[in-house]
Subunit: 338 residues, 2 copies
Amino acid sequence: MKAGKATIHDISKALGIDSSTVSRALNGSPRVSKKTKDKIFEKARELGYQRNNLASNLRTQKTFTIAVVLPRISRYFFATVISGIEEKAYQAGYNVIICQSLDSLKREKKIISSLISNRVDGILMSISMQTASFEHLEAYMNLGKPIVFFDRPCNLKGSININIDNYKASFEATEHLIQQGCKHIVHFSGAQNIELYRQRKAGYIEALKKHGLTVNGDYIFESNLSESDGIWAAKRILELKNVDGIYSSNDTAAIAAMQYLKSKGVTIPKDIAVVGFNNDPISAVIEPPLTTINQPAFRIGKIASELLLKKIQNKDTENDSIFNVLNSELIVRASSEK
Amino acid sequence: MKAGKATIHDISKALGIDSSTVSRALNGSPRVSKKTKDKIFEKARELGYQRNNLASNLRTQKTFTIAVVLPRISRYFFATVISGIEEKAYQAGYNVIICQSLDSLKREKKIISSLISNRVDGILMSISMQTASFEHLEAYMNLGKPIVFFDRPCNLKGSININIDNYKASFEATEHLIQQGCKHIVHFSGAQNIELYRQRKAGYIEALKKHGLTVNGDYIFESNLSESDGIWAAKRILELKNVDGIYSSNDTAAIAAMQYLKSKGVTIPKDIAVVGFNNDPISAVIEPPLTTINQPAFRIGKIASELLLKKIQNKDTENDSIFNVLNSELIVRASSEK
DNA sequence: TATTAAAATACAATCGATTGTATTTTAATT
DNA sequence: AATTAAAATACAATCGATTGTATTTTAATA
């Protein structure tokens, strides 16, 4: 027989011991004597037995698996959040499944449907840029299973959210540019159905207002904040002529714009000062180094999975909405110091 | 009743139709009449039915799930490989589970054990730096299930490998440095139990020999090629005094070393020319831009999953070892042009 | 040694879907 | 209307592990 294909029944037959006893032994039940346990473990090793989780999970209605659903793992911020999640989850004996929505709602829906079919115990999620309605998420929650939202908050009733104060971080970043003498600051914003980007935009606007600068819709660029979006934005900036500052909702777009502007002879920060968001490793390496906002990504992951596991383990807990707000910090580098 | 908790038996009872017919209807079997199918689909929608894959997979002995096991997803190369894998896999209706070994053998073993228990249909894998024996992988293959190795090849009999010609790429990179006039080239190498790093080292050595340069063990640094390893290497380089070239087995270490050397007043490429490996996005952005070797990461992922799925689908195929060698290219940038 | 509680083990149902075989229903043919 | 093949549906076993209950074995007590 091939190793690993053995079942408790094979052990049972080989030893003349009932399969229920074998199961209990392998799970360390005190109902099985030491002597029998030893025999069973020995035989299990001999046959290369590995528990079939499909069967076990079906019976117990538990998979000890949680899923992370996020836009894309190649973003450093998300990759770091995942590390935090995995640390906590593995400690607690849970498996982690990672799923990329690629910021597509269609894909996000497919993923959730598959997670329902596979009966994962809980989901950690940062919704896609296209997600504006939440039926697919409610379908999961209606099974009595929890979702914890990180980074991009969600206003579903009873939802648990972990994020930084995006409004405040944004306000400070913009104010920093103003203090450096910028008068015409462009903002790179993301999809407005995402609360996160609305908050970042709001912080930017409030900072302008506080300092008596005019808020001009033409200076707010909405996009997916990809590399190509950054280049597109840089081109528009050159057309606007008088721009002297950029506050971008992520580093990716900020860096792409910087590279393009540099190639067109713009000096940073003298001509245009730039502030990004996320503290990507690349932001520290580019010339000049990019001022950016650091989020505690690893901690966000740790706390998110802590809260999720707690929710999974006590089903009785309240159904309150929870907003867990962590601190962020503005890291000032050369790209914004005039 | 809560949505989503419905089973075929609930549909069966509600309609007075046997559950076997319900199952066949939901799977589109021609054995069920159109009329009955319609009734069943209607009721399924009404009850929010979602198939329980645990039960289905247990019965069918298929999970339509493949796993990717690799050192860490935050490396751009690996993240890109994953995108290629997912594209192919999703097209074919397979789920993809992503697992990070963090270059730890202990973790890799745990992961494989969990994948066995969860009965995934196949594995795509880039082994950890610590992996020198393969019992854990053989345990999986003994179940009659395939593993495809990418990036880091594996000499297990009957294994399928996808990678570039690391020897050749390395040879060319080193030769390039020599042509730029470098005489004392340091090589950053990885763990020597990994075939990949042995090949890269061999290519470096051969290039030196071909051009009549002495091969000096003190100029070959073995490490995990992390950021801190890069800094450590840079310090040693300063002690060696006469180094005029670096060929690193990855960009991460090369870039960390460059940053450190720059901070100590070394001019790149004039004093020391640098070549990395992997074409990380960061390599194009650093000053000066880093010469590096580009691997077709997305294609590697696509081809790897193609081969894996083929192997999953025809169990009868030969058990030959396969080495699939893709092209790489040296991208020459300012860091190496003297 | 008989009695009885405790310990160890066996029996049997269950989780939800699938599938080979048997039975019933329908429709076509004579 | 009787016959028969084909279509539709029902029955029942199965995948592998778990778990409540029943039974047997062991050991302790009187």
